[in-house]
Symmetry: D2
């Protein structure tokens, strides 16, 4: 499985979020606490938005994040108000750049932790459901990228939660038709460069872990001595596979079968359910 | 485009064939003479058979062949009676291991130079024609790998020339249906570890270049002073995208629209035409 | 050998300089016109300065620049007022990140085209001349990095032209002592993030090619229709191994045995000679 | 730190030793039990001898061993009577091919687990002690490679245990002169393609773990039902950083401050002490 992190708020040096926290994502690449696998060394990716450019920059590589010097350099020199980072633990698919997250289409960016159960049995049917005009843009061999293109097919551009629900509904229906009882495990992050959606769902049992950071104004009251909190705006949020540290009051679990929207001044949590297609 | 080489005959150190000739495949990776591109630096691969093991070993990497130290090491230390080598010049698809040739399925090995014209427009239809049981084994995003899985679908295991003809026929039919007038350009090498088939075909105009080496007994008469020729058996053959040197009498062009079978004591050339599917 | 490019002036998207020109550096990685080698596919590097951060970001990788997606992404999304780019053609030393240019020390950045003749014979003596406090920071095995650390040893921080002259003087003296008649071939770019120095020198014969762009106000008069020239300030300059195109009046050769300083409002060309150490 | 394995005996498919055991070296790359680090994902290497070729083949790469397909391919298709395998956990030096073990010089092969304490403070003095004729062959930046070249300098070719003792003596003397109290931690494997030497030593405290396999004839008596043991000759031996499984009677600790020689019919264990230089 994998670990990921999504940041939205005050423009920040990537380093402050990716490397500095005590249990940072880079630390999780070697020593994940809550993941199915403790090591996430099968590639990584970051994607960030820059002022005046619609599409995010995506930098991905196949080695472990913990020893990658280019990632260190970028984190030390790039600031962004909205960025994703992902570390991968492959469950068998090839370790290659096109299988690393985040994935991009136009201004959209997508990353995933989890799996489609028995993906090899469903892959063909799922690929056939992708909009033929998009089919040839699939470059890798992961379930995660297919899920992205299905969501694009189902209207991600107009209605992100609806498109994700229809994608999940299709995965479950095709799974059941192919004898896979519990086809879907996912935490997902999606953004168009403005808003950020994060989903947590599993066909059965608890989904992969997912947390969001508390409101910055609340944290400032709890921890008036933390200089860091003075530097970020109230609307700054992190959504993460596992907490970046043990700061009391800082992290809240995203409930199973729900999704959150992060948007300046209008964050909310809502229920999520796959929608039959 | 690409360059490739197929060897069958007396077990030989890979180095003798890959690096030693004056215009070796490694030299062609930097300075191809007959290729559409002069540089073939977007990955490479070798595949070789070993005594008592049915499947070939496949080693592929994404950098240029000319500076790859592991390739040098393997070539200096591995002997094989039947091996393929391929250097890649990408026409846009990702530079990743799963897009490097040769491709393998069971004991079969496949490599290609050429292209399906406007592959992005035909990719979905071609993928749908792959045997559903094989679909999920496609790992990369090249036309060449799809051609391999189509040939497997069409009976490569029983009738290699027929399967390749049906694959080519399908590519041409789907091309025409999608408004691609001249869909196929190919030189292909296929082997099951015993026999070797090499194809040269284009929907229009001269196909990519392809040559085979003369009979060793003939070469010995022409060049009685070449020690090298004393070391290899009469049934040794090379099939190559371009000659490895300028030895008079050594190289013969494979005619367009034809294929050759290399097999101990039974080499032959035959006409090739796509077969409607 | 190699090719490189140094930019100083109006903050610019790297893409505008690295990819857009008709004979861009990326194009030169496949088809250099003036280089000793036409292909520069043995690694690449970029280094750029960002507002409010003293050290430059350095991103380097071992494959060819022409097919590197991360380079494309960074070029499409990063703006900088001062950046270096380098494409490498190894003359035998390992193709590894630590042998790719630019090199960095503190806020200093360095890149080189050329060679120390018979470097393997001089390497030990040259390494011994490096300030012992710096010795352990040498990470790679190139002559170029050793030249950088020698210049740092000889006072790059205080007097860049003097430090480079002493470095060159040492290389020539140790060369002569070891029986190497013409030890040095170099075009060099050095910067501290503020000023940029570019050197052209060879112990014998014409040094590697080096060009600088004309004053932007002059170019505007010559080419009043080029929109691009309206977007950049008068003090913008490029120094390049070979011209990025054929724009009349745009490119001027740096004379042999000379160096240039690029600095807002104060560009100048001066003679260069190695200084005995 | 690192983990390693050395095999000498009946020619064996690498796979049988590298991947098949329950706690194989590949498994240790993700989950080492006895190592200082549990993850060894910063590169790997294998080196093997082939009939009629003096030098070993060395294949090394910078990613983790556990997901490397080329390693899998080679292991599945190469047989050797004498081979090394090494997985690396960097303590800060660059992750690059030239820093991966094993190292080779002529027919000699060397790999190391451990460290020279504060190597950056000793690196220059140690490098100066390398035979000037060998200095330029040092390609990487590790302590391990410098130790190898020091051993070569001190007569590895004539007297391996003596050369290693002098290398260790020099490291300790230069360490003490530079204020490093306990300079050396090492388990080492060295071979000339015929005999194999394995060393275990630390300046203070227990050295890194090291084990050797029991005599095959003994194991056959203990485990008459294990088919595997019927296939290997009596003189087959493994020396490993940690046992490959829990077979009772199979593994014996190499005592601290000792070394073993593995040679057909003449294995022995002897005391080891650094020798002042």
């Amino acid at each position: 499985m994998c670990r990921w992190l999504a940041y939205s708020g005050t423009p920040m040096l990537l380093d402050d979020v990716l490397y500095r926290p005590e249990h940072s994502l880079i630390d999780q690449s070697l020593h994940s606490r809550l993941g199915v696998e403790t090591t996430n060394g099968d590639g990584f990716g970051i994607g960030w938005y820059t002022q005046d450019i619609d599409t995010p920059a995506i930098v991905r590589d196949t080695g472990p994040a913990w020893n990658n010097r280019n990632l260190r350099e970028i984190a030390d020199h790039v600031r962004s108000p909205l960025f994703f980072a992902h570390i991968r633990a492959s469950t068998g698919t090839a370790v290659q750049q096109t299988n690393c997250h985040p994935f991009r289409h136009g201004r959209w960016m997508w990353m995933h932790n989890g799996a489609i159960t028995d993906f090899h049995r469903l892959r063909r049917d799922l690929c056939l459901a992708i909009d033929p005009a998009l089919f040839s843009s699939v470059e890798g061999s992961t379930d995660s990228e297919v899920m992205f293109f299905l969501a694009l097919t189902f209207g991600l551009d107009q209605d992100p939660p609806g498109a994700v629900a229809r994608m999940a509904g299709l995965v479950e229906r095709l799974g059941h038709e192919n004898g896979v009882e519990f086809p879907l495990q996912m935490t997902l992050a999606v953004t168009d460069g403005d808003r950020l959606w994060a989903f947590r769902y599993a066909s059965q049992g608890p989904p992969r872990s997912l947390f969001y950071s508390s409101r910055v104004d609340t944290l400032r009251e709890l921890h008036p001595d933390m200089a860091f909190l003075q530097r970020v705006s109230d609307v700054t949020r992190l959504v993460v596979s596992e907490p970046l540290g043990d700061l009391p009051g800082a992290w809240n679990e995203v409930p199973p079968s729900s999704y959150g929207i992060v948007h300046a001044g209008a964050d909310e949590l809502r229920p999520f359910a796959p929608q039959p297609v």
